[in-house]
Amino acid sequence: MAKRVGIEVSLAISEAVKQAKVDAVAAYPITPQTHIVEHLSELVADAELDAAFIPVESEHSAMSVCAGTAAAGARTYTATSSQGLALMNEILYIIPALRLPIVMTIANRALSGPISIWNDHSDIMGARDTGWIALFAENGQEAYDLTLQSFKIAEDHRVLLPISVNIDGFTLSHVIEPHEFLDQEEVDAFLPEYRPAVQLNPDQPVSMGMVGVPEIYAEAKKCQDEVLKNSEAVIKEVFAEFATRFGREYRVVESYRAEGAETLLLTMGSVSETAMEAIDILRDRQQRSVGLIRLRLWRPFPVAELRRAVAGCRRLAVLDRAVSFGATGGPVAEEVRSALYGIDGAPYVGSFIAGLGGRDITIDDFIALAGQVEKMAETNEIHQYKMTGVRE
């Protein structure tokens, strides 16, 4: 086993990007993503990473530059957060349509207003429908591992789509914790050089980003949707290869002590580890039949895997860390309810919103959540969503 190194999660991500030997990085600093690109600019300046580091005047420009470098056939990386992702939004849609395999870290942060630099999932939910693959990491090791795997997934010719690796701002990005790094040779063997399927090249001219007249637009969108949905199989393939080579296993839907559980909690991101502590208390000290499901893959939504993961449970408490104002549920809960609609014996689904704008979700909060969904399920309480832990 490799030696564990104590390092900030942001720097571990930069290390993965360096080891992936990216050709181009274009980024604009925004809290709490800043340390990642700051460190990458140092690595480029120190000639430890042979890449073009392109500073820009806004995130809109950052993603536009990334589109250009990726179209020219460069392995391309960027990172952002919150308002920065929102400012990129227009260009985000274009990247998957052009089939450009950009990898982006999103250090998840709340959106204004009120102004908040702290963590929740509002930013990625705003970019939900842009056509990017979206993965969630729960700790620094996963952030490092998923960053490396993302290049391989994105650049697979069956995929050729951009990926966002979501890490919770501050609660992951600014934490020093142990990481096991791969050797450069191991990374090189796992992640071969990027071979673009099509690239901008003056010697072999192609056109990218053409007008889609009504006779072709729907077909283009259907193709894009198919390729995104089909990427789940490639993601699983890459996860499996990574596990075989390096012994660290990843699944699109992860579970923790969920076998035979009557109540399941469902989370995304770094709160999942805190939730595991709650599950241990519920199971071992209180003898309650409670387990945990965690979504690693948010887009494409792993419908079949989710159905399998919750089969047999009676109640499901879905924790959202973003509000879809006036919606039928939290963004994750809506997807889960839709995925389970019409399934025989589907569990009662409670939609809970917590942890907004950096509010802690504690072990006790998760224990209370399990109790709350059990109580609501008893009376089959019809509800859209409940915002918990709010002072009134």
Partner: protein
């Protein structure tokens, strides 16, 4: 698992204290976390940082609410922050102060194990600056054996480069001079 809360003022390096502790623990083969109180940097304002050290993988990612050890880098925060809030019953409070243990107990009614060192004086002499973060690390590991004092040397060398030697001197001097008063 041992949980640590560091009180200081923005710019005094409280976050670095927590970080050095975590890296030293990880280098010893333990598991550890260190993180700031996730706010905008506010030079001079009271700030906190956290660390956790454990023999097992650490999964709890909330703030530290019930620390085993509280480190106070700047004596002036004692008057404005309740530094013992949430401190475990058998917890240890490590204070930078020129005052004696008896005076501190009298003035603030501290009922916990207490360690004190005049870190400002040591830092002023060893570093030429009243920055007490590395000095207070020496006091903390003397008060509670979180990591071996020598395990902090490597991380300090890595972080402080050419001014590392001074900081290591301050660390070790504080380790020698810290007074501990158990209840």
């Amino acid at each position: 698992m041992i949980e640590v809360r560091v009180h200081g003022r923005g710019g005094q390096g409280g976050v670095t204290s927590a970080e050095m502790l975590a890296i030293a623990a990880i280098n010893e083969g333990k598991f550890a976390q260190a993180f700031p109180s996730f706010g905008p940097e506010r030079r001079g304002a009271p700030v906190i940082a956290f660390a956790r050290v454990s023999e097992q993988k650490i999964r709890n990612r909330t703030k530290v609410y019930n620390p085993d050890i509280v480190m106070v880098l700047d004596p002036s925060v004692l008057a404005i922050v309740n530094v013992v809030e949430g401190l475990k019953e058998n917890g240890m409070l490590v204070i930078n102060s020129a005052k004696s243990i008896a005076e501190l107990r009298r003035e603030y009614s501290f009922k916990t194990d207490l360690a004190r060192v005049d870190a400002t004086h040591i830092a002023q002499e060893e570093l030429g600056l009243p920055i007490t973060n590395t000095t207070m690390l020496g006091a903390a590991v003397k008060a509670r054996a979180l990591v071996a004092v020598d395990s902090l040397v490597g991380p300090l060398e890595h972080r402080f480069g050419r001014i590392a030697a001074k900081n290591i001197r301050a660390l070790k001097r504080a380790y020698r001079e810290t007074e501990i008063d158990l209840i």
